[in-house]
């Protein structure tokens, strides 16, 4: 590595990189390896994969392009970045699809070997963009990735196809060199992953190293960059995706409460990873029941809750629709239950791999009869961890179903989670009813919560069910007044949750001209937009909702302190509908429904527009 010193290392604050290729090119893997290494280096980061709904669209086609975007920085960041500084394009289609998102002077590293006639045609290029000058505003770095990979592996006894498959690691090696990252994290990963296939392990290791050396030795790369570790709050961190964080949160809630976790679930994009993730944790006594359908997923969880477990079911919009009848049963029988809905573009099959916040009203109202339940939402991938614990805490404390809203953006995106100490997390103290004296299945406590008396408890044998219950006694009742009493009590019980959730926090001035009110996964882009407008001298405040039903106690008060309320959300205005109808506040909406998260700039521009442009400073 003698030449290494000849190349300049330049310090930069942040970078956004996008890896893109065919769905078979291993781009998600390449991206997640770069992410793991970057996390270990100590940068703050945020990632977003973007992959097609089809498992294998035709190779080289535009619809088959899979991408992984990573934003990392030496300071606190909240989003995977609006537009990439660097694009690694494994084929013409990947270049074509991603070009429009790039910054003007972005760096593009392309695999020149894939720019042959067939692939150019598939990508609908009339001429070869590497030769026709159309990329002149970019810093184009052509690398014969396939060829270099093959020659690095010449002497290994692998098939051509197996060798060719390693080319993503050549690209990864180049990127590691370019951003001054160690390759050891990935080497270690390869050793674990291919323990049983030593030739494949060797091949990938060799190609990774070759890519790194290529950056080092060839003339085409002149500059390396360094992004120093971020000055994050002290502590131990790990990188988590939203789905992974939710799974960890649910297990933590099980440890906190001492109750076993039971997941009943049917695979559905983008929620399946929660099922997959939880199925690994048998050593925590987690039961994952892969049910025959969505209905059985929730029903088995209700059964488990009846028997004393934490009942959980994971799904996405279409699955939530199938579960709604059973949710009515859980409301009626007042059993604790958590539903995590990882929202995707709808209706129907819609955009299964894309993000949207359009299940909000379904979560609030999508049931027969008067069936209120708790609704909360997560605001970032790492926040899924905390909100999963909150969902369990509320469900158990209030004997109620809780819907936790996540979405595709949070589920697949990732960021560092500062690992909290177990004792820093909220307590979940649950006592089953055991005393026979004075036991009535629907005798409520001061919060209007009924006792949880589980099968196996001597002397408390009782029957519950979906028919209307007689107040206190829980037997069947068709009395008109009783029905009204019970509807009121079920509603008031949910309302009482207000008393155990945090108040809404306003960031910035506590009163003034404009409040940006948001909920769910839009947190990151809005937070960064707020930072930018503040830097430009505008005055606006931000409040982010994590509790939706009930809303935090002080929401009305907060809304009253601002002249204008701007509500950005990834739907046609569902939260706006709730706020308008509950608080009679006229909100200004910013809606986007393209299956994509907000860009920071979109929010920024809207805030400035609402504040009256330059005059709003």
């Amino acid at each position: 590595m003698a030449q290494e010193t000849e190349k300049v290392i330049q310090d930069i604050d942040e970078v956004t990189i996008r890896f893109a290729g065919d769905s078979g090119d291993g781009m998600q893997l390449t991206g997640s390896q770069f992410t793991d290494t970057t996390a270990v280096v100590g940068n703050d980061l945020s990632t977003l994969p973007d992959f097609p709904a089809e498992i294998r669209a035709p190779a080289g086609s535009l619809s088959g392009v899979s991408g992984f975007q990573l934003h990392f920085s030496n300071s606190d960041i909240q989003t995977p970045g609006d537009s990439p500084d660097v694009l690694v394009a494994m084929n013409p289609a990947a270049l074509k699809v991603n070009l429009r998102d790039l910054k003007d002077n972005a760096t593009i590293i392309v695999n020149t070997n894939s720019f042959e006639l067939k692939n150019l045609k598939l990508a609908k290029f009339d001429s070869n963009p590497l030769e026709d000058g159309s990329l002149s505003k970019y810093n184009l770095i052509p690398v014969p990735l396939t060829q270099l990979t093959m020659s690095a592996l010449e002497d290994l006894p692998l098939s051509m196809k197996e060798k060719e498959k390693c080319k993503n690691f050549f690209a990864l090696g180049i990127m590691y060199w370019m951003y001054n990252r160690p390759i050891e994290v990935t080497l270690k990963w390869l050793e674990g992953k291919f323990k049983k296939k030593p030739e494949i392990m060797e091949a990938n290791k060799r190609v990774l190293q070759a890519g790194y050396n290529y950056g080092d030795t060839t003339e085409i790369f002149t500059t390396r960059y360094d992004v120093k570790p971020a000055k994050l709050p002290k502590g131990v961190y790990r990188n988590v995706s939203g789905n992974e964080a939710a799974a960890l949160g649910f297990i933590t809630a099980s440890l906190k409460s001492g109750l076993p976790l039971f997941l009943g679930s049917y695979p559905i994009t983008p929620a399946s990873e929660i099922l997959q993730e939880l199925s690994k944790y048998k050593d925590y006594g987690v039961t994952t029941f892969q049910a025959e359908d969505e209905i059985s997923g929730i029903c088995s969880a209700i059964g488990a809750a009846f028997a004393g477990s934490i009942g959980l079911t994971s799904t996405s919009g279409p699955g939530l629709s199938l579960k709604t009848e059973a949710l009515g049963l859980a409301v009626m029988t007042e059993l604790p239950l958590v539903v995590i809905d990882v929202q995707r573009g709808g209706p129907s099959t819609g955009l299964p791999t894309k993000t949207e916040q359009a299940d909000l009203l379904q979560a609030m109202f999508g049931r027969h009869g008067e069936a209120p339940l708790a609704v909360i939402c997560a605001s970032s991938p790492a926040d899924c961890f905390f909100m999963a614990i909150e969902a369990v805490r509320i469900a158990l404390k209030f004997m109620t179903p809780v819907i936790l809203l996540s979405d595709g953006y949070l589920a697949f995106g990732s960021e560092p989670l500062k690992i909290p100490k177990l004792e820093e997390l909220p307590e979940i103290n649950i006592k089953f009813r055991t005393g026979v004296e004075g036991f009535y299945p629907y005798l409520r406590d001061e919060n209007l919560v009924r006792p949880w008396a589980i099968p196996g408890t001597p002397g408390l044998e009782h029957r519950i069910g979906g028919l209307e219950k007689k107040d206190i006694y829980g037997s069947i009742s068709y009395e008109p007044e009783n029905h009204e009493i019970m509807i009121d009590k079920r509603r008031k019980k949910i309302d009482n949750i207000k008393n155990i959730i945090p108040e809404l926090v306003v960031e910035g001035e506590q009163e003034g001209e404009l409040l940006v009110l948001s909920w769910g996964s839009t947190y990151g882009s809005i937070k960064e937009a707020m930072r930018n407008v503040k830097a430009k001298g505008y005055k606006a405040s931000h409040a982010h909702l994590r509790y939706i039903n009930p809303f935090p106690k002080n929401l009305a008060e907060v809304l009253g302190k601002f002249k204008k309320v701007l509500l950005p959300e990834l739907n046609t205005g569902q939260m706006a509908f709730l706020i308008k109808s509950q608080f009679m506040v006229d909100v200004i909406q910013l809606n986007k429904y393209q299956g994509q998260p907000f860009k920071i700039s979109e929010i920024e521009n809207k805030i400035i527009e609402v504040l009256g442009g330059n005059n709003g400073k």
Binding site: P260, K282, C299, P458, G465
Partner: protein
Amino acid sequence: MENKIDEVVADVKYTAKDFSSGLEVKWCPGCGDYSILAQVQRQSPDFGEKKENIVWISGIGCSSRFPYYMNSYGFHTIHGRAAAIATGVKLANQKLQVWVATGDGDMLSIGGNHFIHACRKNVNLKIVMFNNRIYGLTKGQYSPTSEKGKITKSSPYGTVDWPFNAIKVATGSGATFVARTLDRDPKHLQDMISRAAKHNGLAFIEVYQNCPIFNDGAFFPLTEKETKPDNVVYLEHGKPLVFGVNKEKGIMLDGLNPVIIDLNDGKHSINDCFVHDEFDENPTRVFLLARFTDLPGFPTPIGVFRQFNKATYDGDYALQIANVKAQKGIGTYEKLMYSSNTWEVN
């Protein structure tokens, strides 16, 4: 009427009365469900389970009122979903003995998917399906077991559907205990209930049940003294299939086809008869027997069609959890959170 709350009865010998919730039973007068309830309550003391460990889960329909009348833990759920909810109960607490009370509509129509998958997985549940071949609670529409051509409120010109044969469905789906019995044969019904209670694995009992209001007499040829001997053949392990007032008729196999033989015609003897083997794991035998109800002149088989042991879903699940715990040690928060790449910021 309030839910009756009991004092703790420590290790006392229960009687049938201990299993009555005291709630006024509200089936129509003469309904076959009364007999099923009475036989279950009579047998419950012999289940060898403490009352608090018995759970009755039901769906929706006349039959699904059942848990309200049993003084055990009970859950009257939603239409068709009893098997799914019961599966969750059993997986959450293996010590419980979990029973499902259901009907032909509840289990074979809206709940069909849950039923076949519970059978397939061999979940340790005991499913008692009251088959009256009609929708009672909704007042008289045809059900998935109604015979083809049946005239009901929703089929004034007769149904054009072929019915399900519950024994075939359960067997085809992998149930490891499959039986049929009659509401009007209390002794036999009791016997089937206690055998199901002892079975380790999914037990399915189809009870032919009379609905005097909407399908009166549907099973009378099988249950009434005059006609029963010619129309019912009792399945008993190791015994030849014989029926008739004087057991003068037998069933013989001609290839894979059953034929009725006259044991007094001088040409046939009891040795020619098909001998029942309920432990045969090969489902062919069950399908052969289950087909009798489709063949004119053949008696309806009553009794245990098959019974054998196979690993249960809940048993294997518990085993897997125990194995992983033994291998990895019991999970802790530290192990959970620090298991992947972590880094420290100072």
